[in-house]
């Protein structure tokens, strides 16, 4: 029913878990992993060996985190589109090494260092994406090359670019980036045709978004969005981790430095938090050294007091979003909860208070974003055409002015696509290049905003200073990604725009990484194939041994001995052979040699009396 060319999958690339979905005429569906139906969450975790080679992705990688904390990478989403300068807190908390990529004058791109290898966040996200891609390919039985990927509404241009780069590295054309709360609304709004205003409160593992949307005539129009890209359930866990760390130091005089124990604390804290959503109190036990145990009972009230300042920040963002949309709580007909952290009762209570209504949770908060991404994918693939998303840009876009101020060109919450133009000139006679520092953020000073990169306009025709009129057009597309073009108005010449992203990858780097990833994938495939051949060979050898044992008397002694030796030799060879094709050829040759014996054996069995066969 779905043409291979037209398959577009929807992906929720989450901080903690990722999911893949698609939609057909019947609606959106999640695609399960190898665990079968219900195995829809792929933990966004990648495990490496000490040399920096990928060993496991997903659930098995997560299971390894405590054992191998420094080579297990999780929460990579927090690092997307970031520099080391942005990540002081994360670097202190994360057990794996995060360094500034070397040899980058003027740029600050964070990389994860494992053994002698280093990976940028998009490369690690690409590993998770590739796993989802192959889940989808197994499901459809054909290759899948296009995807819609969701991002937090508050993601800036660099974070969105990084997500798109991750897709490309994974071999996916990212046809659309959509905002997570908008996707959630799409999943909820499928069968409702009436007019409504809804608020989507999305608190995930690492990010928080609040979006207010109006649904009318099948159009999903975002009125306002607000939030924090560095606030989520991870921070709830961190409150508990910090508490335990301090108390263990006070009671036992022990400083927790070992990454393994840190990781253990993280897992225990996460479980404790989850239990506290069901119960009024829960406790942890942590072995300190060999003979001492730290025991701690946490009440729900204590936990709530701990996370209150964090939740308060989300509630303030809700009020700001209502103010931007010029709405008060009674104008909002429905409040939808999204993200695993909205399972915390305290969060539900405060959200209920600020919007003065019970939040709606008909769909699983961990699945709703992926379902919405699947719906958007089907809209783009033409499976459905009756809905349309109109989103906004979360942050103001501007340029650094002469005095170091932020000159705003496009305000936050402007509907996308949107466009603004600004005219620049030269300061020196004959100047052919002009540099512009492009910013995103709400602060007055350029230094307090986020630099997206220096855009260098090249090929300006040489003229006396101040004469060229270079019109630069900033266009934010439907993905929330900036496109810049420039024209010198006097000559009508299109100027070139060269972008040096502050925290991102250049087009060439992405292409190189895609090629590397493909080569690695081939290597991985070889490894996979080798395991398959070895398994099959062992099965064949075992069968042959049984035959020799039962029917060896049908052969003459020399033939029989030769076969036994060959079985032994082949088993040894399988251990050292690294080329699956070579091994498979040997296996096939061996099977040809045992064929006469197999035929004799079959005949022998057929001539035995009935009862002896069992």
């Amino acid at each position: 029913m779905i043409d291979s060319r037209d398959i577009i999958i929807g992906i929720d690339l989450g901080t903690t878990n990722s999911l893949v979905a698609y939609a057909d005429e019947a609606g959106p569906h999640l695609i399960a992993g190898p665990g079968g139906e219900g195995d829809v969450l792929l933990p966004s975790v990648v495990a490496f060996d000490d040399t920096g080679r990928v060993t496991r992705i997903g659930r098995e990688a997560r299971a390894h985190a405590v054992e191998r904390p420094t080579t297990t990478v999780y929460s990579i989403k927090r690092l997307m589109g970031k520099g080391v300068a942005d990540l002081a807190d994360d670097r202190r908390r994360l057990p794996y090494r995060v360094e500034r990529r070397s040899g980058e004058a003027g740029r600050d791109v964070a990389t994860v260092v494992i053994g002698d290898k280093s990976y940028t966040p998009p490369e690690i996200s690409a590993m998770v994406l590739r796993e989802l891609k192959s889940r989808a390919e197994r499901h459809f039985g054909r290759s899948v090359n296009r995807a819609v990927i969701t991002v937090p509404a508050q993601f800036d241009d660099a974070q969105r670019q990084a997500t798109r780069d991750a897709g490309q590295i994974a071999g996916l054309e990212v046809v659309r980036i959509i905002n997570e709360p908008t996707a959630a609304a799409l999943a909820y709004g499928l069968d409702r045709t009436e007019q409504a205003t809804i608020a989507v409160y999305d608190l995930g593992g690492g990010t928080f978004d609040i979006s207010i949307l109006r649904l009318e005539d099948g159009v999903f129009e975002v009125l306002a969005t607000n939030g924090d890209t560095h606030l989520g359930g991870d921070d709830f866990d961190q409150g508990l981790i910090d508490l335990f760390t301090v108390e263990i130091r006070e009671q036992f005089g022990v400083d927790i430095a070992s990454p393994t124990i840190k990781q253990q604390l993280r897992t225990l804290s996460e479980n404790l938090k989850i239990r506290l959503s069901e119960r009024d109190s829960a406790s942890v036990e942590i072995a300190v050294g060999t003979d001492r145990v730290y025991r701690r009972l946490i009440t729900r009230a204590e936990f709530e007091a701990m996370i209150a300042p964090l939740v308060a920040r989300t509630i303030e963002a809700c009020s700001r979003a209502m103010k931007t949309a010029k709405l008060s709580p009674e104008d909002i007909q429905q409040v939808v909860l999204v993200g695993g952290s909205t399972r915390v009762p305290f969060v539900r209570k405060l959200v209920g208070e600020v919007f003065q209504r019970h939040p709606y949770t008909a769909l699983n908060p961990e699945q709703v974003v992926a379902l919405g991404a699947g719906v958007q994918a089907s809209l783009l693939a033409g499976v459905q055409r009756d809905l349309l998303l109109l989103d906004v840009t979360p942050l103001s876009l501007g340029i650094e002015t002469l005095g170091g101020a932020m000159g705003k060109l496009i305000p936050a919450n402007t509907r996308v696509p949107c466009r603004a133009s600004e005219t620049f000139t030269t300061f020196k006679d004959g100047q052919t290049n002009v540099k512009i520092n492009v910013l995103q953020g709400e602060r007055e000073l350029a230094a307090d905003c986020r630099s997206l990169g220096v855009f260098e306009l090249t090929g300006v025709p040489p003229m006396p200073s101040g004469i060229p009129k270079i019109e630069v057009t900033f266009l934010i597309d439907q993905n929330g990604i900036l496109n810049v073009s420039a024209t010198e108005l006097r000559s009508g010449q299109t100027a070139g725009v060269q972008i040096i992203p502050s925290h991102g990858l250049t087009r060439d780097e992405v292409r190189r990484m895609q090629a590397d990833a493909l080569a690695n994938a081939r290597e991985d495939m070889t490894a996979h194939h080798l395991i398959d051949v070895r398994t099959t060979l062992e099965f064949d050898l075992h069968k042959a041994e049984q035959m020799v044992e039962r029917h060896g008397r049908l052969l003459d002694a020399a033939e029989r001995d030769a076969l036994v030796i060959e079985i032994k030799e082949l088993r040894e060879f399988a251990k050292v052979c690294c080329d699956p094709r070579v091994l498979n050829e040997r296996r096939e040759a061996f099977n040809r040699r045992t064929l006469p014996l197999a035929e004799l054996a079959v005949k022998a069995v057929l001539h035995e009396p009935e009862g002896a066969r069992a």
Binding site: E316, S328, L388, L475, Q478
Partner: protein, 166 residues
């Protein structure tokens, strides 16, 4: 004009030109859809707000633009400074009654100014330069009223609370 009308028309046009409708089209066509959508969004942004609409009409009739003439009526500037001091005092004193009265009176003045703007903007084509300048000053003054109203609701939670009191 009917305030709801640009919105319905906007949705109908947005459906036709949005790039999501052209995922299988050529790169050039997709780029065109993106540019057209940006234009449509800009048009709706201007039309859906009376101040921006007046500003646009003034620009069409020859300006001055906000960048060319930044002033506000002189008597207003003095008023604003006094009001700002009084509001600060009321805030410090925690006099919610006074703050509410300020909010009401500023809202009323803003509405009166909007009526003046509306009357002038309807006939921008026939306005001479002094009248266009007058319109510019009125439009500029709206921003001052909005800033004051923003200050009165600086605590975002206060907005939510006052809304529930209704």
């Amino acid at each position: 004009m009917d305030e709801g009308q640009p919105h319905g028309a906007f949705r109908a046009i947005a459906r036709k030109v949005h790039p999501d409708r052209f995922t299988t089209a050529s790169a050039d066509d997709r780029a065109l859809a993106t540019r057209l959508s940006a234009e449509v969004n800009q048009a709706h942004f201007v039309l859906s707000d009376p101040v921006r609409r007046a500003d646009y009409l003034l620009e069409l009739s020859g300006g001055p633009s906000a960048a060319e003439l930044r002033e506000v009526p002189t008597e207003l500037l003095a008023d604003i400074m006094t009001l700002r001091e009084e509001i600060d005092e009321a805030k410090i004193a925690g006099d919610d009654g006074a703050l509410l009265r300020y909010r009401e009176s500023i809202t009323a003045r803003r509405e009166a100014t909007m009526l003046q703007i509306g009357a002038l903007a309807e006939s921008t084509a026939n306005l001479d330069e002094p009248r266009r300048k007058e319109l510019r000053l009125l439009i500029n003054s709206i921003k001052y009223f909005d800033n004051l109203l923003d200050e009165l609701s600086a605590d975002p939670l206060a907005v939510a609370e006052s809304a529930t009191d209704d």
